[in-house]
Structure formats: C-alpha cells, structure tokens
Subunit: 320 residues, 6 copies
Amino acid sequence: MSRRFVSQLNHNETVEQVFLASNKQLRPNRQGNLYLQLDLSDRSGTIATRKWNASETDYKSFENGDFVYVDGTVQLFQGNLQLIAQRLRTARPDEVDESDYQTLQSDDVCRMRDRLIGVLRGVKSPALAALVEAYLGDEVFMEKFCRAPAGMKNHHAYQGGLLEHSLNMMEVAALIAPRYPQLNLEKLLLGVLLHDSGKVDELSYDREIAYTDEGQMLGHMCQAISHLEQKAKDAERRGQIAFPPVLLMELKHMILSHHGEYAYGSAKLPMTLEAVALHQLDNLDAKLASMSGLINDCPNTDSRWTQYFPNLDRKLWKGV
Amino acid sequence: MSRRFVSQLNHNETVEQVFLASNKQLRPNRQGNLYLQLDLSDRSGTIATRKWNASETDYKSFENGDFVYVDGTVQLFQGNLQLIAQRLRTARPDEVDESDYQTLQSDDVCRMRDRLIGVLRGVKSPALAALVEAYLGDEVFMEKFCRAPAGMKNHHAYQGGLLEHSLNMMEVAALIAPRYPQLNLEKLLLGVLLHDSGKVDELSYDREIAYTDEGQMLGHMCQAISHLEQKAKDAERRGQIAFPPVLLMELKHMILSHHGEYAYGSAKLPMTLEAVALHQLDNLDAKLASMSGLINDCPNTDSRWTQYFPNLDRKLWKGV
Amino acid sequence: MSRRFVSQLNHNETVEQVFLASNKQLRPNRQGNLYLQLDLSDRSGTIATRKWNASETDYKSFENGDFVYVDGTVQLFQGNLQLIAQRLRTARPDEVDESDYQTLQSDDVCRMRDRLIGVLRGVKSPALAALVEAYLGDEVFMEKFCRAPAGMKNHHAYQGGLLEHSLNMMEVAALIAPRYPQLNLEKLLLGVLLHDSGKVDELSYDREIAYTDEGQMLGHMCQAISHLEQKAKDAERRGQIAFPPVLLMELKHMILSHHGEYAYGSAKLPMTLEAVALHQLDNLDAKLASMSGLINDCPNTDSRWTQYFPNLDRKLWKGV
Amino acid sequence: MSRRFVSQLNHNETVEQVFLASNKQLRPNRQGNLYLQLDLSDRSGTIATRKWNASETDYKSFENGDFVYVDGTVQLFQGNLQLIAQRLRTARPDEVDESDYQTLQSDDVCRMRDRLIGVLRGVKSPALAALVEAYLGDEVFMEKFCRAPAGMKNHHAYQGGLLEHSLNMMEVAALIAPRYPQLNLEKLLLGVLLHDSGKVDELSYDREIAYTDEGQMLGHMCQAISHLEQKAKDAERRGQIAFPPVLLMELKHMILSHHGEYAYGSAKLPMTLEAVALHQLDNLDAKLASMSGLINDCPNTDSRWTQYFPNLDRKLWKGV
Amino acid sequence: MSRRFVSQLNHNETVEQVFLASNKQLRPNRQGNLYLQLDLSDRSGTIATRKWNASETDYKSFENGDFVYVDGTVQLFQGNLQLIAQRLRTARPDEVDESDYQTLQSDDVCRMRDRLIGVLRGVKSPALAALVEAYLGDEVFMEKFCRAPAGMKNHHAYQGGLLEHSLNMMEVAALIAPRYPQLNLEKLLLGVLLHDSGKVDELSYDREIAYTDEGQMLGHMCQAISHLEQKAKDAERRGQIAFPPVLLMELKHMILSHHGEYAYGSAKLPMTLEAVALHQLDNLDAKLASMSGLINDCPNTDSRWTQYFPNLDRKLWKGV
Amino acid sequence: MSRRFVSQLNHNETVEQVFLASNKQLRPNRQGNLYLQLDLSDRSGTIATRKWNASETDYKSFENGDFVYVDGTVQLFQGNLQLIAQRLRTARPDEVDESDYQTLQSDDVCRMRDRLIGVLRGVKSPALAALVEAYLGDEVFMEKFCRAPAGMKNHHAYQGGLLEHSLNMMEVAALIAPRYPQLNLEKLLLGVLLHDSGKVDELSYDREIAYTDEGQMLGHMCQAISHLEQKAKDAERRGQIAFPPVLLMELKHMILSHHGEYAYGSAKLPMTLEAVALHQLDNLDAKLASMSGLINDCPNTDSRWTQYFPNLDRKLWKGV
C-alpha cells in the first residue's frame, strides 16, 4: 500500500506507517498518568502525536531523529489534526525510504547546487571571481550550505532551503539586472551568496532545526562576516591578488544591512544600490515562499480563508 | 553653442539660455527690497533661481510653465547650486526645443506605451482581457496615464513617470513569474496597471506637479477604485460577460493593500499572493529608482557620500 | 416558570430552557472521546457550553442559528461560567419567544428608525436633502441598516447596533452643534449616516455576526464609498440637481478619515472640521458603550475591578 | 481712524497704531548691524516684527508686556506676514483701549464665570457640593482660574482660555449626560473643573504666557492633585463631613488619566467611565478649537488649503 | 528530617512538610469533578499545587496565608514542576519555623534598616537632614517601608524587597559619587529614598502581594508626592526651618521622572542631573536583580538557556 | 596677556589670539559676495566664525587643522555666540601652546592610560589575562585607543574621550562589583575594554572628528569583533593556550549587545548578566557626561533652563 503523506491525512483516518520522530516528551496528565508526546514528520509536513498510558520504556525505545513505525488514528483537535498512536516502535531499515522524509530530494539539491555554481562561475571581475572560488572550493562550507535551512520557521525551513532561497534570489537578480543598469550584478550575486551564509553555523540541522549557542548569541550576520574575512584572505592566496578593501567593505555592508531596518535586527541601513536591491530581493522571495506555504498548509478545507496569523496580523485568502 | 543642461552646471559658471519656469514668487528681503525667486528646469533637473532687485513688472512678465530666457551665474549656496539671474524674459518660440525639457521624449513615451499595450494584450482570461480593453480603449485615461508622473517627489516624479514605473513592474513581473508558479501572472499584471492608476487624478501635471484637491483629500487608492468600478461595467458591455464579483474584489484588494503596511497609508494588509507580489515589486522598482536618483543628483563631487537624507535616516554611498 | 437570562445565571444553577445556538463543534478529548462544544445565547449574553460523550448524531441534530432546548448545569471554569449540558434538542416553535433573543426589541428598532429618519429629514440644503432621500428611499439598504451590528465585538455588536450607534451620534451632534458654530451640522449628520454605512455589507448578521469576504478584503470604508457614488447619482435623478463635486468629495473624505489615525486603519487623516468632529463623536459614543459593556458583563462579583483586558492594557473600576 | 486688527492686515499695508509687545530681542545681522525683533499683538492675533538699524536705546525703551505705538509696513515673508517698523515708542495711556488686546473681554469673562458657577452650584451630592464650594470660595484660585490660558499654544492659548475651555466641556457634558445614563454627571463636572486646574500654576500669564519652573518640572497634573488635597480638607471643614476616600481617589484618577494615553503624558489610563468621558470631551473641545483656529488664522487667501502643519502631519481644508 | 526547599524539589520526589498557602481555588474539571488548586511557597520559591477530587470541605479547611502540612508528589508538567497533593491540612504551630518562609530573615531586615539609617543620617545640609528625620521618625512609615516589596513581580518582589532595593541604590550611589562630582549626592540619596516610597501604599503585602485600589488607580508616584508634602511640613516643624520650595520641587521631580520615559509611565522626563542618575541607578539595580532571579529560578537543568521570556523578547544564557 | 578661552567669551568682546581651525567653507551671500565660514576651537569649546568679504586667497591661506591667529568681535546670533573675524592668518609656532587646544592634557592621558593598564593587569584568569596582554601589547592599537574620542558628538567627543569613558566604566565596575556577586568582574572589565574599541577605526580624529568610510558603512561593533578575533589568536600564541570558544562567544556578545535595544542599533539584546551590566554602566556614564556637558556649555546666563534639545525632547534644569 502506498504511503499517505502528512499533508494527505484526514480526520478519523487510520495510519500504519513510518515517520521521522522529534521533540519527544514524557508527561503526566492531570490524573497523574504518563503519556508520550512527540512530533512525527515526513517531507510533506509534521503532525503532533500523543500516545496515552505510556511508560519510561516507551520513552526510551527511540531517539529524536529516529524513524519510527506507528499505528494510530488521526483526530481534529482545536482546529489542528493530531495523531493518537496505539503502538510505536523504531522502524526496520527496509521499512524506510529516506526520500519520503526530505522536502528536497538529493537530486533536486544536486541540480540546484550545479545551477548555483553555474551562476557564480559567471562572475568575471578578478577579485570577486577569486572570492567565489574561495567559497566554492571549501567543501565543508559547501556541504553545509547545501544542507542548511534558510530559517527556523517562516520560509524555506527545511534542509536545502538555504540553497533554494539563495539560488532563487540569484536567478531573479540575473533576470532583472538588465532592467536596472545602475546595479552591479556581480556584487549583487556575491551579496546573495553571503547574506545568509552565516546560517550554516547559526542553525544546527542534522536531525532537527535549532539555533546553535553561537547562533543565538551572535546571529548569522556576525558569523557571515567572520567567514568572509577568512575567504577574502583565501581569495588573495588563490588569486594572487590584493583584495580591494573598499570592495570588501561593500560586501560586509550588504551582509550587515540586508534586514533593511533596525527594527528587524539590521545592524545598518542599506546605503549602496546593491544593498538596497539585496534587501528587496530577499523580501520578495521570502514573503512569497512563506505566504504560499501558509496557504498550502492550511488544514481547514471548509473556508476560503486561512486561520488568523498573529505575527502577520491577518488571515490569508485561499480563493474560491 | 550647444545647451548646458542643469545637471552639467558648475559653481561660477555663466549661463545664457532657455529654461522652463515654475514656483515664481516676489518676496521682500530683510532690508525690504524685493527679489524674484523661481525654479528653472530642463529635462536633466531643476535649479533654484533668484533675481535680486526685482519689481512687480518682472514678476508679471511671465507665467509659471512658460519658457524663459535667462542670463546669470551659478553659485554654490549651502551645499546646493543656485542661479543668480541678471536678466530674465520670456523666450521666443524659435529659441525653444521642447525635447530639452522633457525627461522622457515623446518617442520614449510612445515606445513605452506600445510595450505596455503589448504586455497587457497578452492577458487571455476573458474577464481580465475585457477589462484590459476597457482601460486601453479609454483614450482620455490612456492619454493621462502616459503623461502622469508616478509621484510628487521620490521616484519617477516627471511626466511619463507613471507609465515608466508601471511598465517596469509589468516586465519584471513577466520575467520572474515562471519562478513563482503559485502566482497568477494575469491578475498580477492587472494589479500593476491599477495600483497607481488613481494618480492620473490624484496629481495635476500639466505645467507643474501638484496634488489636486481630490488627490489630497481622497488619495489615489480611492480614485483607482472608482475608475475600476466603471471599467468593470464597460468590460461587461464590451465582453458581453458578467464580470466575476470575486475577481473584482481581488483586484480592488490589490489597489487597497499595495502600500503594504497601515503606517504607510495602506487601507488593508496584502492577503492574497498577488497582492503580496504587487507590494514587493512596487517597492523594488520605486526604491531602486529613488536611490539611484539621489546618488546621480548629488552635486557634491568631493565626497564618496551623498548628503544625509532625513527621511531615509542615512547618507548614500556613491563609491570610489 | 419564567426564563433565567444568561446574565442571571450562577455557579451550580440548573437550567432547563431554550437558547440560540452558534459555533457548534464536535471534538475529541484527550482520551479520544467526542464532546460537543457550542455557544448558547439570549438577549442578555452568551455562555460557552459543552456536552460530554456526544456523537455525530448529536452534532447533526441542529444547525447554528437554531433555537435549542437544553437541560444542564452552570459551572465556574477558569473565571468564566460555562454550561454543562445533559440533554439538548431543537426547540418547538411554541417554546420560543423571539424577543428573548434580541438585544434590541423590534419596537426599539422601529422607534430608533423613526427618530433617525426624523433627524435626517431636518436636513434642508437641497443636495444633502436629496442624498438623504436617496438613502432613506432605498428599502433594501434601510432594512439592512436597521438590522446590522456596529461591529464584530467591542461596541454595539448586536443586531440593530449600527442604527443605535448612528442615531446616538446624530442626536449628540445636534445637541452640541449650537456650541460649535464653526461646524456645518448638516454635513456632519450626513457624515454620521455614511461613516459606518459600509458595515451593512462588511458584516453578515443573519444568524451570527461574521465578516463577509468583501468585508475582510476591502473593509467598510471602501464599501461605503461605492454606495455613496450610487446614491449621489440617485440624488441627482431624484432632486433634478447636479450634486456638487466638492461636497461629494467632502463626504467621501469623512468616510475615509473617520478612524482618525493611520495606525487605526484610517486611509486619510481628518482635514475638515466636520471630519474632525465625526471622528471625535464616533470615539466618544463607541468608547462609552464598549467600556460600560465590559463593566456590566463582568461576572466576578467579589472584586471592585473587572479582569485585565489586554487590548485596553488595563482593568476597569466597577466602584464600591 | 478705527483700528486695523492684526487679523485684518494685508501685504504692503501701512500701520500706525498701538500693539502689545512681547519677546523682544536685539540681534546683529550678518553684516554686524543690530536690529530689533519682537512680537506685536492685539486680541485678533500676533505679528512678527522687525526694526532694522536698532540700538540698545531702542531695545531698552520699552518692556515686554508694554503697549507700544508703531509705524511701519506689512510684508509677506516666507508665507507669513511680518511688520517692518520704522518707529516704535511706548504708548501714552490715552492711546490705549485695553479691550483691543484681550481675546476675551472682561464682560465675556464675567458672563462665563457666572455660567460656570451656575453649573457647579447645580451639584447636589453633599461631598461634591462641599468641594465645589471650597474651590468657588477660594478667591485667589478663582481669579487665576478666570485669567489663565488653557495652554501655551494649540487651543485656548489666551487669558480666559482655561475658563472658556472648562465651561464648554461642562455645558457639553450636561447636554449629553441624559443620553449616557451610566455616567455620573456630578463626578464628571468635578472632573472637568479639576482636570486642567493645575494650569493656574503651571503657566505664568500676567504679561506673556510661559511655563513656570514648577510647571515645567512637575506638570499641571501633579499641581492639580496638590490643590485637590487641600480643597478636600477645606470641604471637610466647610461641610462638616468626612470626604469619602474612594470619591477622592476617583477624582484624583480623573486628573491623572485625562490625557488618555501614556504617550501623551498621561500618568494613568482611564479606568472609570467618568475618566473615559472626561478624556473624550477634552479631546473634542480642544481639537475643534485648535483646528478652527488654524483655519481662521491662515493668511494665505489664494488657496483652499492651509499650509502643512508638521505636528498634525497634514494640511487643513478651508473649503471653497 | 531536614526541610526540602521548593528550589530543591525534583521530578518524582515525594514531599511531606509545611508550606505557606495562597491563591486557593476550587474548580470543576471537564468531567465535572472538583479539584483544589493553590500555590505553596517557602522562602526559596513557589510551586503550583493541585489536589484532585477535592470537596468544599477541603476548600474551607484553611485560608490563604495559612501554613499547611502537605503530603504529595512532584511532577514536571509543561516545563514547570507542580505538586500533586494527596493530603493537606493546617499545620500545628510546633511544625512551623517562620524563618523558612521569609526571603529575608528578620535579622537581615534589621541590619539593612540600620545601614539605611546610617547612610541617611550622613546627610548634612539642614533642610534635607530635617526631611530625613521626618521620614525616619515616622514609625508607621518605617515599619511599612521595611516590610514592603519593591514590586508585584520582576525584581525584589518579596517582603523587605523595597528596603533591599533602596539600600542597594544608596550604597552604590555613595560609592560612585566621588567619580561624578557634578552630582549632589545628598539630593540623590533623598531621591532614592523617595522614588519608590509610594509603594508602601501602592501594594498590600500582609499575606500576599497585590495592588491596593489606590495603587491601581493612582500609582506609587502620586502617593509618594503626597507623603513628601506632609513630610516637608514635618521637617519645617522639626527643623524650625522654611523648606526651600525649589528643593522641594527638585525632589518631587525626581519622583515623577524616575521611570525615565513616557512609555514606561514616567510623568516627566528627567531634567536634572540627579534625576538622570536616579533613573540610571534604579535601572541598574532592578535589571541585575530581575535577570539574576530569572536565571537562578530556571528549573530546566538540561539546557544552557532559560526559556524564552516574552516581555524581554529573549532567552537568557546560563552558561556552561 | 593671558588667553581667553572659548567658554569665557561674551557678547561684544574683542578677540586677538590663536585657535584651531576646522570646517572652513567659502560661500556667496545672497548678494553674491563671498564670505568665509569656519569653526574655531580650543580645549574649552568651539565657536562658529565668519569673515565677511573674503576671497579665494583667504580660503587657501590655511588648512583645516591649522592653528590660525584671529582678530575679531564676538556677537550673540540666534541664541548662540559667533565670532566675526576682521583678520585671520596662520599662526607662528611660537604663538601656539598646544596644551590650550586639547581637552585632555598629555599628562591626563598618560595618567588615565596607566590607571587603565593597572585595572586590566588585575585580571587573573589565564585566558582573559592573555587577551589583555594582546591588546596592551599592540602599540598601534593603544596609541589610537588613547587618542580616539568616544563619539562624534553627545559624550566624550574629544581626543582621549574613549580612554576616559572606558576607564570611568572600569573603575565604576570595580567599585560596585562586590555588591553584585553574581557578576564576573573580569569578564565585565574585558567587555568594557572591547565595547567601544571599534571606535579607533570607526572615527578619524587626527585633525577633526569624522566617520571613516568603514565606520559609516560597518559601524564600530563589526570592527571591534574583527579586532577581537585577531587578538584572541594573539592571546593563544602569547599565552600558549587554546582560547575557550564559549568565552570568546560571550565577549563578542557583549560587543554586539551593548546598545541594549534594536532601536538603538543593537545587533542583539543582552542575554548574559555581564552584557546587561555593561549596557547599564555605559548608559550611566554616557548620560551623566552628556547632560553635564549640555548644562555646562549653555551660553544663556539669564535663565535657569537650558534651551530645548529636540533629540532629548526636553530642556535641562541648571538650578538657581
């Protein structure tokens, strides 16, 4: 029987299949009986899950990040679906098809990585080209960059999301650059690469997505600046050039100002045309991705509207 | 001798040629002597002008919007250039080449108009196509739309600026639409056409740009809604269709929400994907145009920075 | 036995009578058993209600908006009263006295309608008088205007509330006008009529009060402007006059600016004396109505204070 | 020849008559020559005045608050009228008719005072009536209360303005009270009397209006509270009653909360119905007075709009 | 067996000992069964407590503020510990050691009181010294001042907290004063004594901490001003001096401005050096106390971070 | 004749002595005549200066940063003193005593430097001690650190100001640390050293104080982080230790969060106790220094109040 993805589940449906587990907790209810609470995911989404009358043995029978085989029933609770599990055990390897649990498939990631490299290799000015090679030639960085999400929640919050978001922005930048000849496209492309590059360390994303201590305390902008300083030195070695200090300053400025306003945690306001463009393209891609996501994930099929989102101060229209 | 454009003038330069006059005022100085103050423009910009020891006869010798022949000297005053006029008279017709005074040449405007029509005629869904024809077929509207500025100041603040801004946004929308398949490009194109269409009545722009009484009191959003209601009826007549009420509502919503936030005078927050995209594309085009303009118009050639702009809370970097 | 109104119910009281049902939902509890949750109302207020161990049959046995006969017990839960229903069925017509379920009785509404018509018929300037007749003569509009609430919650959130709020404001305006001779009372009276007139379409209020799709997406200001444009044309026909465009503009401006500040969704700031007065009178009537309501509805008889209201950032003093 | 009031002066008009002087300063111009700058007022308004080539003798020939006889010419300078004085001397007593310099005539003030006393004597509850007598019986307070302005600028900024503003609010309160039976009119009337009573000490207003040191540092709310505590004790003596502590607290609360929001310097948010009503009535009277004033004082007769007022973020419409 | 303090309790631990009870409520669960909910405290903290299947007899068996003997079990529930009580009765006097329930011991309070008196008796300028004696000589005030908390929550929210906070600020002021010779230390010390002195009446703190009606409606600033006016008169009697009005004004100003910004409820902005210093020292002591408290009270020993605090918009770092 | 310092100059006083020149500009007045505008300073302050009827030769006769000999007259203009220069030439070396032009004397700076080194050498934990030596041992850094101002304006805006501000904060930190045992004083001292250390590059201050390009575009926080990364590597070499990464992270966090709130350009909110303390101590020292400065520099001796400062939204009280 073929898999039912999380996004396909309905009220009252019975489920017997494998999910990825996270956020497990053993908790007493008000009568003092213990129950197990966890999240189960596949590539289409996540469903809150409870197993009543659980024991410490149940709790220890698997780890966050494990694949578990569940049988249970889906219920609508306070406007959201939840899964009431009857049984729950670690899955056997032959029961798992990893591609079911990745929003982006390895093939997709490879293709996007190749496209990103293609775009960046088109950069011709010597200093920027040397800088591109310093980043592309750092295998540890590239492996993380292709695996990292673009955020904790909101938009592109899945493995590979950072790559997808950055590639989108680069390709949009390249498309519209001919219409804005005052922009230096090559600086802008580097700005796109750099702007969220600190997220490879701001977040941890091997099993579940979380802030690292450094990420929480310093933020991805500070981390991206440190990377860039090292990479600029690499570029000098590789390219046998002196990296122009004004160019380095402009690149750092794009990192520091890409949130656009102090209130959104921007350390500086955009003061160059490329910094302005970077902020706008980031906004465009992020807002469209996050709002599409909210509309697509809306479980309520009775209404033309999503629920109200307090952080957006609005409902979204799903249409007729 | 060929013309020196406003953007080419330097401190201490002598000037003898024709400009377009506006904002004239006759004012006493602190000693009680009268002087004439006015703005002189050509297609490259505007220069503040004073004629000392002026009389009421001088004041009445020409009207705002006239072409005047000036001889005088350029001076730097408080960081800006001004022109001290010795003599000043209405120009003879043979002294005037109108194309010197239009930011956009009639040819440019024609070409942009044709491109705009081309893009809009690509809309295929019946109701929207009928609506397009209702707008394109309204010659009074089209003539104004091609002549109106996009604003009082900030960006595209010249005759033809509304057309240029709208066309830019449409062509950028068409370029990036394939990357965002969740967007309905045809709705978005209509949204672009409509979003600032009220500016044809919000502003007066025959001689100089100003708010109309209606523009000041009601704003271009309210005016665009009124247009749209009439045009939707036209479309019903022309297309012999019933214009779908939900579609009309979505188009109105794009108009009402395109400023994005209440603080910027948006009557509604964007609640559809096309409304979100419209707001982002408007921001992108407007911000790039206005900041490029500020950098290009900066008269101070000694510094890598423009002056400080209080409304932006920053200086802009002009580069090395 | 005479009816116990919602506002009279106490902890531990037994209830056997008819209410108006709304917001019904069938939900599983944490043990997976289903229960029915709904709101029961009469003219004095609303009480949250639960029926444990409910079935899909229970859920389908009545519709939102139906009158239902309930027997159950009142309990205090987390500071609010709730009703635990034992049995619940649709009421027989002979068990229902509709006047028990209307905040305003039909008589009240009729009287208020007559007073409103009386005030408006006192308007003498020809164009405004013709406009008054255009509104009063539109029976569909008047029927809705007399039935609509003034809002979703806060103040006058019941059928007839819009009429009550508008009439209050008109009569207060007439009372104070002699003290402010700079005000044009007739313009102000029309402003009062128009300012919330869009609520007849912004909200749906046949059974329960909710936003319509148009209301959510466009808002009552936009809808009131559309009405006004049609009515001004009617007035021209009726009065055989040309409706003065400046007057029409001033009326539209009152609609667009009556929320007073951008942050409260006002599309314009009040720029005429009548618009300023309209905003202030709206505030006065709405704030007094909403705060009185909060004080009267406070269920906690032990304290001189109401609970803390987060949207007001305060408790209210009920007094000794 | 009859007097030309400030509000009647036009560009280029010659003036020879008496004004009230204030704000005099002796200043060098850029050439190092001294000029005298001052404000000249009568009951209709104030005009900025300059006398070129002035000496220290000129400066010392009169005091702020003196009546001076001026001959000079009116000029339009940067959108406002100013007076260029040729000669300037202290006026002889027989040249002065004091009523020309008082916005409110002594007769007006007396009549308003009588009406205020009449309204307050209508208060019947014993404690409040005793408090009324404590205020009315304090001749020093009453003399100041009838002479104080209601503010430095904005609204009722002239001698007697506090009385006028308070009386307006009381009479409006009495008019509308029957429509809001939940309000205690007597408490509200006392709230009106008290709310700005601290202004008798916050401002000095014998010759020109200014903040006192205490006014600047403590504000009129703090000062009104101190008054009230003394007056409540007086009331106890006079009325041979114990002033109810809860009532005293409610009156203090009205003083502390009448600005309505923290951002406007309110020490507390209104928490009683009377405090809410007081804030709304204060707003209504103050806003109508200040905006009417701005429209009436607008010197520019060419435009339907006033100038732009930065603190209001708008122009005002004067109408056709 | 020695006592286990609240701060020492762990998940699954059994407890049999005495606590201080507060906030008791009898509530039905969703099945209609009653349970008892209360808070149990000792000097180290407070733990939420529930007794299932409780009766009205249980509820009435003790009062808030009584010592109760409990046996039960500690459980982790939604990230916080709670106590599930099996049995619960009033404690016998011999079971209670009052010092276990006071954050500050009577000895601590006495020592702090002595230090405070020592610092204040160091004030030498006659008027201020007389004022100090007026406060120190008021036994009712001093008794309350030494027993009051500094706030409802946040910092120093326990009996004696006001004394501790004020003493801290005075001693820090004395330490740093030599580095800021522009400050008048004696004025500043009085400012510290006065700034929160109104809290002796703003809060009630005999059994549990709450706002008094006056505190809620008038606030501690208004109350401190009233105290000060009386005490200044006392000082005049005691010291046989006229208290200098400017000095009294400066002291009142320190009270009114110590919150520093309007948004934090400050009635005035600090305008004297001592008022600025007072605001800064208050902030320093309060912020360090409150953040240390949040870090120390964090029950989650698995993480280097505390939970997220919405009012601070951040997590706090507990370190490695 | 002994020098008259800028702070001693009065209206109408004649001046013949040497000043430090800056901000020179040659500008036409409205009659087209040129004048020279510049600032003249000594260690006590700066006075705006004009020389009428200047020529390009005058303009070129000295450079910004030169010492010039001036004879002229002091005048009060629009509330501030200005100097009208008759003659102006570069000063001869024998006319200049450099100590007259330095707010802080070399001796002061040396003494403060020694005290700073003394405080920092008291740091004992190995990693921090090694870091201290890395900074103290960098002569280029130390020379700049002792010469840099702490800001462009506001507080400590003179050469040596950064040293003075940092030393103040360290000594205050050491004084109060015993009262806050939860603070790690050694971390806090390093935080003080680091927090504004980026200002050595953010500003240029050889002749006049200005932002560097990097300072404007990246800010002192970003620059301080880069320094710290290098110095931590130095410390590893010097101390033959591995610098603990968590400690490095905490130091960076103090830099990034010391402005306390996003609205003040803080990249992070303070999340450690030392970061909270650093922010508070910075505020305390900066606010006291800047407000004392504003009070001391107030030229108006007639009033107990300074002028109104728009950025502070208040006047300051100078006292009686």
